[in-house]
Symmetry: C2
């Protein structure tokens, strides 16, 4: 992950509305949420929501997929993990300091299909 992309990803999350949107999606897991449902959960107006979802999407933090009249949004856990990894990269000059475990989801595809050849 390049610095430029990291800044974009962080900037996408560094905003009240978008952080709320993203957390909703993280908690929803791979099933995701329809745009309207996100609007209900967060209280963000549809037009503003759309703006922020585009922002998150452009940053690679969320993915979307049409489903009938709905558009289902999901958190992109791959980008999320890469972001967390970047921030701790070369921590303390690479010396072992204090390894910590934390949960980090994988995208649904990784478990059901053969994707992510990263």
């Amino acid at each position: 992950m390049e610095t430029k992309d990291v800044v974009t990803a962080l900037a996408a999350l560094a905003q009240d509305s978008r952080l709320a949107i993203f957390r909703s999606l993280v908690q929803a897991g791979p099933a995701g949420l329809a745009a309207g449902r996100i609007s209900e959960l967060t209280g963000i107006s549809p037009s503003s929501l759309s703006f922020h979802l585009k922002e998150l999407s452009h940053a690679g933090m969320v993915d979307s997929q049409p489903s009938g009249r709905f558009v289902i949004y999901t958190a992109n856990f791959t980008t999320m993990n890469a972001l967390l990894g970047f921030l701790t990269e070369n921590c303390c000059g690479g010396n072992p300091c204090s390894p910590v475990c934390m949960p980090a989801c994988e995208p649904e595809q990784s478990r059901t299909t053969e994707k992510e050849p990263t």
Copy 2:
């Protein structure tokens, strides 16, 4: 960690100069770096650097401590860890998904004194 603080922390990191500064400090570890040294490493002018360091400091991402004519800055690993934790909180509704280990430094105090009664 409250949402407001998370947004502040993310905003602090979501900027080229500040991300570069913070990574320098993460890699320097608990020993930290003098402001002038950060300026050398990143190519950021002293006045701009000072502005960004204040921003990072205000967000709790870095700490500072005068040492003679120098001011030594260090990454605040406690805030950093709290930030990473917040982002993955309640991931997938709390269901176990894919635990991942990553390094995460502790502040020097935690290893040498009795602090962090969190």
